[in-house]
Amino acid sequence: MTFGLGVSAIGQGLLWATLGLGLFLTFRILDFPDMTVEGTFPMGAATCVAAINHGINPFWATLLAIGVGMLCGLTTGLLYTKGKIPILLAGILVMTAAYSVNLRIMGRSNLTLLNKPTLLKLSIFANAPMYFDSVFLGFTVIVILTLVLIYFLQTELGQAFIATGDNENMARSLGIKTDNMKIMGLMVSNGVIGLGGALVAQNDGYADVNMGIGIIVIALASIIIGEVAFGELTMNQRLVAVTLGSILYRFVLLIVLRLGFNTNDLQLFSSVVLALCMMLPVFRKVVDVRHIWKRGISTND
């Protein structure tokens, strides 16, 4: 494995970690799967790329992508809490609708950033060696995002948000407006995922209407690989573990590609990796290594 590819994997891992952090808020804290992300991610990318193509500064274009992501989250949140549509279906509805919206935003299925300014071409990153630009940008974004999330979760509002996902009944009996907490969670989560879409599109140099397919699996993979790799952690450590999980996941993909598989196989691999990680507790029970180990060193009595 060459050095360059390793650096590239770290850069990709950092940029894609935004996805894991966004999904963490709904999947782990609110404790439900939000399919909206499959529509939000390409919408963030499409919005950002279209805006840059219209001559908007990449910084504002990225912020716009966050705003659009939050709107997607708001829509899902309203369908779920006020419309009483099950969360899985609410997410799928918004995700499906987003496909058409994304085509409208871009005007076609694929839009390039060739010869256009991006955040990676900012002077502070542009002088970096090959692939290091994405590492620097990703690192900056992830550090800020993680610190903001850590602060937020330790505020009174953040605690009410956590309580909503932990025990809705109790939260309500303490006067927490749980519907509002869920809508807020979906908005922040999808805003972060819109940001992820904008960053990945700027790194790849284009936005594609199909770039959202399988995104939820990739985001879950970084959350779950982080959990499997680092075990019992506090909330703050878990947020950092998501980023490390995302980087680890990129290395797994790199190895897979080096084994001779091509990029078309990656969706299959992502799903297999995630499925294996999620089944790990079951395997641990069936093949109890520690039990066998104990048997091996105990005396026969």
Partner: protein, 256 residues
Amino acid sequence: MTKPILELRHVVTKVNRNTPEELTLLKDLNLTINEGDFITVLGSNGAGKSTLFNTIAGSMPLTSGDILLRGESIVRESEETRTRFLSRVFQDPKLGTAPRMTVAENLLLATRRGERRGLLPRHLKRHMPEFKQLTSGMGNGLGERLNTPTGNLSGGQRQALSFLMATLKKPDILFLDEHTAALDPKTSRELMQTTNDRITAENLTCLMITHHLDDALKYGNRLIVINDGKITFDVSGEDKKKLTQEDLYGFFGEIE
């Protein structure tokens, strides 16, 4: 002691309205609760005890009638707003605490019951000494487990914590919905004693649903029996003290 704090006037609660399964759970129920009342509530399953709590708390909509808190109607207020003056402890230990949050974090949430929660830091450390003292007073080891997620506590510890959370910020009215029913006899007795001590010490206004006739007679200054959506028996003060189990069976044959 005789100032009314909560009044229920001709309260009717129906479920499954306008369907063939329509049921009237509370039927023109009237009740005046005075400040400082500790009322034990008896009634067979399905009599409407929990419905009464849910209707006052706002988790079930009222069909007709009025509920007044210190003379002001509260029926238009949401369930969340009503928590400003009302707190509850549920029968199921799982319902009252957030399992992945620690004991201290749960208590901290309860300090702001019914209040706005903003983007200010939570200041957990600042509250720790107070929480330590409070939980140590429960005498069940809760004081040593402030940093334990509540999911790892025993049922008794969780109910004790739920009770502490409900009374941490003094409520105008406290609802206890068979809060000791899921516990073993010894733990149940201890929690009931702590409950009584705290209610007396803080002069709380409390409604307690129970199926233990002993507890209903032993605790509180007033006893009501709910039957088929109405209050069929209401006794307080000296009359309640004279009451015996045999008397209760007369009003309320179907219990136990």
